[in-house]
């Protein structure tokens, strides 16, 4: 009788000790796989968005960067399939500095896609007392930077030990490329 009690107690203690650890390992494995799928989709989407943004401005003669909403709506269907419990938004102005900025604006588990266009300096922009810009840079084509910033949902709180937020992993994927603009 005493022996049976002792064996059961030992099994319970073993289970109580091992079960949470096993669950944590299991969730961590699932989370790592999920993170890889999400990251892979993010990298593909940003690459596609960079190509799209580099090839299509608001018009072929425009010197303005393409609208982030248009590019976002193009890459969103593919990305939405991979983003588990995470929303995708278009960032209206110049890119946010950190995932926290996206969270403070849109709330948790949101990634924002933004587009920055950097034009080269004007060739005749020299003013008194300053040296004129190098001809090389002023003849450059603009660069387009597409960034996907925010927090994606995670199964293991707090964000796999990386993020300060609960149940989220920070994401910041970026692609830069040169583009052509036929502005006069």
């Amino acid at each position: 009788m005493h022996f049976l009690h002792r064996t059961r107690a030992q099994a319970t203690i073993e289970f109580a000790f091992v079960a949470p650890l096993f669950l944590l390992c299991f969730l961590a494995t699932v989370d790592a796989g999920l993170w890889a799928v999400q990251s892979s989709a993010e990298v593909s989407a940003v690459e596609q968005a960079a190509r799209l943004a580099a090839s299509a401005g608001s018009s072929p003669l425009s010197s303005a960067a393409p609208d982030a909403r248009t590019v976002t709506s193009t890459v969103a269907p593919r990305l939405a399939q991979a983003l588990f419990a995470t929303r995708l938004m278009a960032w209206p102005r110049s890119c946010p500095t950190s995932p926290a900025e996206v969270e403070s604006r849109f709330g948790p588990r949101v990634v924002a896609l933004c587009i920055d266009e950097h034009d080269p300096p004007l060739c005749n922009a020299a003013t008194a007392g300053t040296s004129p810009p190098s001809r090389a840079y002023c003849a450059d084509t603009p660069t387009i930077t597409v960034r996907l910033v925010g927090h994606v949902a995670s199964l293991v709180p707090p964000g796999f030990g990386i993020s300060g937020s609960g149940g989220e992993i920070p994401a910041d994927v970026c692609a830069t490329t040169h583009t052509l603009r036929f502005a006069p």
Partner: protein, 218 residues
């Protein structure tokens, strides 16, 4: 006698736990490392592909004048100009575009990658000589020698001299087609990550991308 048997069972349980838990943690750590490797490889592929394509945004005749650097200021790259900026004077502008695209895209994993640096700008090369590095392409005389990405820039011409691109014979056998290629190699160093305690391998990642000139340019 019975007490000794109990003690033996207790010891066996402790031993089982002591063996299984580290093994389980080791498996999880290595799985996470593998996922990280896949993600970094994809980012490297993406950066290399965009770098090769961006060459065509520069004119064939455009060569960088003296004093030109890759990443001269934050408008081009994620990192501002510093001592490690690549001096691109005297090489095709397309090479600088490729470098700016690559560095601007591949900035997220700088801490855990050990780059295998090579010349930035090359000419020549043939897929028939694939056993040689870059298919036997040679660096431009003025090319920076320590770049994370190496590109064979084709059909660049200056002062009556035309520099050939990489001849890929698999595209139009047996004559081949001249293409732009970019290569990047880096070692993923898990020792610099929190996984260092359980991951004892450091894979070398390589990305190769080819780009054909868009038809309207031909």
């Amino acid at each position: 006698m019975r007490r000794r048997r109990h003690r033996g069972r207790d010891a066996q349980a402790v031993l089982e736990t002591a063996l299984v838990i580290p093994l389980m943690l080791l498996l999880v750590a290595n799985f996470i490392a593998l996922m990280l490797q896949v993600t970094v490889q994809q980012q490297l592929d993406s950066a290399t592909a965009l770098a090769a394509e961006s060459r065509f945004q520069a004119s064939q005749e455009a060569f960088d004048p003296p004093g030109t650097q890759c990443c001269p200021d934050p408008r081009c790259c994620a990192t501002p100009s510093d001592g490690t900026s690549l001096v691109t004077a005297g090489i095709p502008t397309g090479c600088r575009y490729a470098a700016e695209t690559f560095y601007g895209t591949m900035h997220g994993y700088a801490r855990i990658l050990q780059w295998e640096d090579a010349p930035l700008c090359l000419t020549g090369g043939d897929s028939a000589r694939a056993s040689r590095r870059f298919g036997g392409a040679v660096a431009y005389a003025d090319s920076p020698q320590r770049s994370h990405v190496s590109c064979v820039i084709g059909a660049a011409s200056t002062a009556g001299t035309t520099y050939a691109g990489y001849l890929d014979r698999t595209l139009n056998p047996p004559l081949g087609l001249y293409v732009v290629t970019c290569d990047a190699t880096a070692r993923l160093d898990f020792a610099r990550t929190p996984l260092a305690w359980g991951v004892f391998w450091s894979p070398t990642l390589h990305a190769h991308a080819e780009a054909l000139p868009p038809p309207f340019r031909q």
